[in-house]
């Protein structure tokens, strides 16, 4: 067999000293993912990672939805780079896939049009007096987890194995468009055979599901969802994916983009409510995890500290398969220890019933 060209596509990931750019939406959708990532990188891997409270939006969703002009977008990105520069870092790590796509696109445009970079430097200076360096390295957090997946495996208490059958768990992986489709040669495996999540799944004992609509859109698609009239199209795309993967009986879906994780999770509720269809076992849905959440529960974090209770499709059946211990009583308890209240149960999408 001759070489596969896509195997040459690699992410360049700095070894240490990361400036973490938190996401505006991920903290709302997957409440524990970013905190867990920082803990893993700082405490388990012993790396230096900056968590800056002065961060702000990257404007990527506005840019990719066509409502924020290019110059404004570039200046906002330049301000983020200025914060990185002021903090003394050179390796930019945007939490959100949209940010990752956007900052790479902006830096690439500056590379090809250096006069634009100078213009943006002027805009930022005029606006707030800030100056910035273009990052030496831009890597997504999933690239960092992928890079250190073997080291993390050594620290893991659980693996992607069904403790009842002894067989590997079957995992659907889905990467965000803005991760691999803008600059496919700069991410491991490119756009057609992205390896970043595959590498984690395989290293941690799971089996990747290859199914007909593996490369199909998750359903977000920006204006598919942002424009109210298009939302049916957004749900229809997620439905197409879910229908395609269902016969393979995946144990869960792993994603690296907030949009993908959100919509493949939440639309399962919408589809169940509107059509009475569910895709998991026994009327349950197929759980959808972020890669940080997955790493965290394998490492032995309390699933409720990671924020898994905020997912639409409840994860207890998956945790049971993995042999992960959890206390149902802690599920809706806040950090203060107070009970936060239990959400209403969906009509069709089943959740685990406790005695």
């Amino acid at each position: 067999m001759k070489k596969q060209y896509w195997t040459e596509y690699e992410s360049k990931v700095a070894d240490d000293h990361y400036y973490y750019e938190r996401s505006c939406i991920r903290q709302s959708f997957f409440t524990g993912s970013e905190e867990v990532f920082i803990n893993i990188v700082r405490d388990l891997l012993g790396k230096d990672i900056a968590d800056d409270m002065n961060l702000h939006t990257c404007s990527g969703i506005g840019y990719y939805s066509g409502v924020v002009p290019l110059d404004t977008t570039m200046t906002v990105v330049a301000r983020l780079f200025a914060l990185m520069t002021e903090a003394g870092y050179k390796n930019f790590v945007p939490s959100c896939i949209t940010s990752f796509g956007l900052v790479n696109e902006v830096v690439d445009m500056w590379h090809h049009f250096p006069e634009k970079l100078e213009q943006i430097r002027g805009y930022l200076k005029e606006a707030n007096g800030k100056e910035f360096d273009v990052p030496e390295n831009i890597a997504h957090p999933c690239d960092i987890i992928y890079k250190y997946r073997k080291e993390l495996k050594e620290k893991m208490k659980y693996s992607l194995t069904n403790v009842h059958t002894g067989k590997p768990l079957k995992v659907v992986e889905h990467i965000g468009c803005h991760y691999a489709k803008i600059f496919p040669r700069q991410v491991k495996g490119g756009a057609e055979f992205p390896q970043v999540l595959v590498g984690m799944i395989q290293e941690w004992g799971g089996e990747v599901v290859d199914y007909p609509e593996r490369r199909h859109c998750c359903g977000f698609g920006f204006s598919q969802y942002m424009v109210l009239a298009n939302r049916g199209y957004s749900a229809a795309n997620s439905k197409k994916k879910l229908e395609s993967m269902q016969p393979f009986k995946p144990d869960f879906i792993l994603a690296n983009c907030p949009g993908c994780t959100m919509f493949m999770d939440r639309w399962q509720y919408t589809i169940a409510e509107t059509e009475g269809i569910t895709y998991g076992e026994n009327g349950m849905g197929i759980p959808v995890l972020t890669y940080e959440e997955l790493a965290a529960i394998l490492l032995g974090y309390n699933p409720w500290d990671v924020g898994l209770q905020t997912h639409q499709v409840q994860v207890e059946p998956l945790l049971d398969k993995m042999g992960i211990k959890y206390d149902p009583k802690d599920k809706y308890v806040g950090k203060s220890g107070a009970f936060l209240g239990e959400p209403e149960k969906p009509t069709h999408l089943k959740v685990k019933a406790y005695e």
């Binding site: 067999m1 001759k2 070489k3 596969q4 060209y5 896509w6 490119g190 756009a191 057609e192 055979f193 290859d210 199914y211 007909p212 609509e213 593996r214 490369r215 016969p247 393979f248």
Partner: protein, 342 residues
């Protein structure tokens, strides 16, 4: 250093045909072939379009021609260096052969496009995705089958893989793939009458004699279906078949189809030898094909005296075109050699 009248580089149809015609004109010809076997890409052919002539007949004919007394054939002799020395050309090979001759004919041919560059088509990932060359080999042994050894129920042929494709840097048309897909689909139906055959295309280019008739015959007599659209994505199904996606641009609708075999009609590119020798001698043209001094009036001559071209080292050509071009090159070389002796 061994002397010859002409060194012919490449033992495919062009090289052999030219060598034979030169030999008949009493020139001492050295024919060097880099591979163990001669015939070039003709080696793997089953039948030839548009008349379904058995390719083994062509191979027998070519083999017979190499046995002419004025031809000395060297196999396993990849050319490493071609240089001008005084009024002669010096040709050296990887196995230490060293020739000097007043004339050299470059007939180093083409290579097929490496389908792995079109990652979305899954060649090398999914066993049911094969190239037109591999399908021809299946036809040759009379065993069209899936990776599981089963008879396929449905076969799709995809044209323009590596041709007319900006993404891979090949803007040109390889010219032979459309009619070759027609031929392959008919051959598939002859061997497996129950199989469904679909050809996916951008344009159907039936420019040769009897091509249009064959295209029509494939539809009327063999029920081959033609869909105007490029396949954009291939993925496996739960029963190990292949799902292909494209837009049927005539009906303007997205289309999904499950097939057992996807045959990629891979295009023609300049061979590595063509590119390398062309670079050494300075006759490289666009896409690394070799460049003659005049397409219309001196298509076998180059800007260098005594350095000639024949066949698909210049551009994609059919077999009859290649053979005719080789005979034309032999005539040019014959005239050139005679002019030297006068």
């Amino acid at each position: 250093m061994n002397k010859a009248d002409v060194v012919v580089i490449g033992g495919g149809p062009a090289g052999i045909e030219a060598a034979y015609n030169l030999a008949r004109d009493n020139h001492k010809v050295v024919l060097v072939e880099k591979e163990k076997e001669i015939f070039g890409h003709m080696q793997t052919a089953y039948t030839l379009f548009p008349n379904f002539q058995d390719a083994s007949e062509i191979r027998s004919s070519l083999l017979q021609k190499t046995k002419h007394g004025n031809i000395t054939l060297y196999n396993n002799s990849e050319v490493t260096q071609v240089s001008r020395e005084n009024d002669f050309w010096r040709v050296q090979t990887i196995n230490g052969l060293d020739f000097i001759a007043p004339a050299v004919l470059l007939a180093s041919g083409f290579k097929t496009f490496d389908a792995r560059y079109k990652e979305e088509l899954g060649y090398g990932i999914y066993k049911g995705v094969i190239t037109s060359v591999e399908f021809e080999e299946m036809l040759k042994v009379g065993k069209i089958q899936t990776a599981n050894g089963e008879k396929p129920r449905r076969i799709a042929f995809l044209n323009c893989v590596g041709s007319r494709d900006e993404k891979v840097g090949n803007h040109y048309c390889s010219r032979v793939c459309c009619i070759n897909a027609v031929k392959l689909s008919i051959e598939a139906k002859k061997q497996l009458p129950e199989v469904e055959a679909y050809c996916f295309y951008m344009d159907i280019r039936m420019s040769g004699q009897f091509y249009e008739e064959l295209y029509r015959k494939s539809q009327e007599d063999f029920d081959v279906n033609y869909i105007r659209g490029r396949i954009s994505e291939v993925a496996p199904t739960i029963d190990n078949r292949l799902q292909v996606k494209c837009e049927d641009t005539l009906s303007q609708t997205p289309l999904k189809m499950t097939v057992d075999l996807l045959v990629l009609m891979i295009g023609i590119e300049a061979s590595e030898g063509t590119a390398r020798i062309g670079e050494q001698v300075g006759v490289n043209g666009e896409y690394n094909f070799s460049k003659s001094i005049s397409l219309h009036t001196a298509d076998n001559k180059t800007k260098h005296q005594g350095f000639f071209l024949a066949g698909t080292c210049k551009r994609p050509l059919t077999v009859p075109e290649t053979m005719a071009d080789a005979r034309a090159a032999a005539l040019e070389i014959d005239l050139y050699l005679k002019s030297l002796s006068q």
